[in-house]
C-alpha cells in the first residue's frame, strides 16, 4: 500500500496536481461570501462555520473525480488490479493519500479564514478540529462516487450529485460543533462527526473496490 500512497501524494503535489488547486478553490469561495453578504463581521461569524464547511467539501470533491479516473484512463488501474494488493487496499491507500493532500491542507488553512470571518479563538480551534475529524469522511464517501463514475465521460458533474447528500451529516455536525461554541453550549457534535467519519472511512474502501471491479470489466 505504501508505494501507491506515496505515488498519489507525489502526483497531487507536483505542478498541476490537485492539492494546490483545492486550496485555492477553498480560499476563493470563502472570499466570495463576504462580497455577497456584506462585510458585517457579526453576521460573517454566525455563518462562518457553515460557509467554510461547504466550501471545504466542494473543494475536496473538485479534486476527487480524478481519484480513480486518471489511473483508469492511462491503464494504470489494470496494473494496480493485478498487483499483490487487493482492490480494497488500493482504495484505502488512495483515500488516505487524497485526505493527506486535500483534507489536511484545507484544515490547516481554515484557521486563517476563520479569523477573517471574525470567529473568536475558541470557535476557530473547534472549526479546525471539526475539519480535521470530518474531512476523512469526505475523501472516503467521495471515493465511492469517484469509483462509480470512473467510466463516465462527464463523471465530474455527476459525482457531486451522488456524494453531496451522503455528506450532509458531516456538514451538519461539523458546522454544528462550531455553532455550539458560539452559543456557549456543548452538544456532542464533534463526537457524532467523529463516529460518522470513522464509519465512512472503514466502510467505503469496500464499496469503492466493488465499483472499481465493476468498471475494470469495461
Amino acid at each position: 500500500m505504501i508505494p501507491l500512497f506515496l505515488r498519489d501524494i507525489r502526483l497531487a503535489s507536483r505542478a498541476g496536481g490537485s492539492a494546490a488547486l483545492a486550496l485555492a478553490f477553498f480560499a476563493a469561495v470563502a472570499t466570495l461570501v463576504p462580497l455577497g453578504v456584506g462585510a458585517d463581521l457579526r453576521l460573517l461569524a454566525r455563518i462562518a462555520a457553515g460557509v467554510l464547511w461547504v466550501a471545504a467539501v466542494l473543494a475536496a470533491l473538485l479534486s476527487l473525480d480524478r481519484l480513480f479516473q486518471a489511473d483508469f484512463d492511462d491503464g494504470s488501474l489494470d496494473l494496480l488490479a493485478l498487483s499483490p494488493l487487493s482492490l480494497e487496499s488500493i482504495a484505502a491507500a488512495k483515500i488516505a493519500a487524497h485526505w493527506l493532500t486535500t483534507g489536511l491542507p484545507l484544515t490547516l488553512l481554515s484557521p486563517l479564514l476563520g479569523l477573517m470571518f471574525g470567529l473568536p479563538p475558541r470557535a476557530i480551534a473547534v472549526l479546525g478540529l471539526s475539519l480535521l475529524v470530518g474531512t476523512p469522511s469526505v475523501s472516503a464517501l467521495g471515493a465511492i462516487g469517484a469509483a462509480l463514475t470512473l467510466a463516465v465521460r462527464r463523471g465530474g458533474l455527476i459525482l457531486p450529485l451522488l456524494v453531496l447528500p451522503l455528506l450532509s451529516p458531516a456538514v451538519i455536525f461539523g458546522a454544528g460543533a462550531v455553532q455550539a461554541v458560539l452559543d456557549g453550549l456543548s452538544n456532542g457534535a464533534l463526537l457524532f462527526l467523529a463516529a460518522f467519519s470513522v464509519a465512512a472511512t472503514l466502510l467505503s474502501p469496500f464499496a469503492a473496490a466493488a465499483a472499481v471491479r465493476l468498471n475494470l470489466a469495461g
Binding site: I2, P3, R7, R10, D73, D74, G75, S83, P84, A217
Partner: protein, 207 residues
Amino acid sequence: MSTVASLGVERLTCIRGQRVLFRDLSFRVAGGQILSLEGPNGAGKTSLLRLLAGFLVPAAGRIALTAGAATIDDAEERGRLIGWLGHHDAAKPQLTPLEVLAFFAGLYRSDAKIADALAAVGLAAVASLPCQYLSAGQKKRLALARLKISNRPVWLLDEPLASLDAGGKRLAAEFLDAHALFGGIAIAATHEPLGIACERLVLGAPA
C-alpha cells in the same frame, strides 16, 4: 519468477453487451510457448486478454492455470501471476521513467534493478525526464521494461509492437524470446508478425 506449466482455456464464451464475441473457444499454451493472437478489429482479442487477466467474467467456460501440481481456477489468484502490457502505457506525464518503474517495482515487490531495465530498453538517457516529453514509442519501451521487471510467469500483451520503431520491435521480440526461454508463457494480441517462433490463434469475425 515462479514457473507455470500451462494455461488452458476450455469452451470459453465471451458476450459483450448483446454481442457474442466468440463461443466455445478452447486452447492451451504450455510453459515456454508464445501465442500470437490474431484476427480483425472487433474479433475479441482484447476481450480475451481481459478475460484471461480476470477483469472480465466469462459467460461460459473455464480458464485454468497449472503451476506444478496445482491448478489455479480463481481469477484473482491467477491475476497475481500475470504480467500485463495493455493498450495504454500507464506512463504518468508528471513522473519520470525512473519514478514510474520504481513505483511499479515497489508495488509488485520486485527486486529488479531499475536502472538496468531502463538501459535494456534504451531509455537510460531520458530516465529523469518527465514522461510527458516521451514519444509514443518511448512510452511503449517503458511499458516493456515494466513488464520485464514484473517477474510474472504469464505475459498478456495487447499490441506490443504498436508505435515501436524497427529497433523497438526487435527489442520486444527479444524480450518475448527470453521470457519463453525461461519457461514463461506469453499471449500477444497483434496485427503484425511478432518476428519470433510462436503459435498462432486466429479469432474470426463475430458470427
